[in-house]
Symmetry: C2
Subunit: 117 residues, 2 copies
DNA sequence: CGCCGTTATATTTGACTACATATAACGGCC
DNA sequence: GGCCGTTATATGTAGTCAAATATAACGGCG
């Protein structure tokens, strides 16, 4: 079963459709930053430039009342990045929302995929 | 109660994130075409150019096995556009999926909105 | 006080997108 | 066969966006 049944990953974005909104891209970046402790490493793993990742982090931090990611430069650890409690909270809820949407739309998803070319 | 509680409109797109994918924009266009019987009128109502609407219709028709919109030119009716059964089906299911996602994520939505700036 | 890998910023270049503009084609009806 | 409002297509242009490039700043540590 190479294609276990095509499923759409619901792409939730908020608060609007603009490019600064929080969506699946920023969520994925957040996951990698949490796992690696570095914006640069996360960016490399996702195949995007450091600048792009940095832009996204800035946009995220500006979007919420409190920053989602904190950073540090230099020192013995050579700097790095960590998720704040707010960041962890946002990531947790977003992930849960994705799963909930997936569950709630499974039947219609399959029907629609059968209509695709 | 002017703002009855900010709610995110889940922006479902499939089959991927590309610009040709079916999402809320094409769904809305489909609704207006169904209501007005004209691509041009629908485009005007949505504040977009006819060309843009036409591009979207083309992309939709190419995406699915059967076209979602049929068109006719000239004649007594001066031409127009209608939804095919497939078009009606897609629109129905997409609308239902939106509503299901809305329901399934209400709690997390509110929590996230409280964190926004 | 220099080493190091990271964060942080500025600038330029090229590609892509959106938009306006223009024009053709259609075809029942009078 | 001309009228009409719509569908359908082509083209040039401006505006926007992504990527590449280059460089500065940081600061614990040996």
């Amino acid at each position: 079963m190479p294609h276990p049944a095509p499923e759409l990953q619901p792409r939730l974005r908020f608060p609007d459709a603009g490019p600064d909104a929080f969506g699946p891209g920023k969520a994925e970046l957040l996951r990698h930053i949490a796992a690696t402790g570095s914006i640069r490493t996360a960016a490399t793993e996702l195949g995007m430039s450091y600048q792009r990742a940095w832009q996204l982090v800035q946009a995220m931090n500006r979007l919420f009342r409190a920053p989602l990611v904190t950073t540090s430069r230099g020192g013995g650890t050579r700097g790095g990045a960590q998720l704040t409690p707010t960041g962890e909270n946002v990531l947790l809820r977003y992930t849960r929302m994705q799963a909930a949407c997936q569950r709630a739309t499974r039947t219609d998803q399959r029907a629609l995929f059968r209509l695709l070319k």
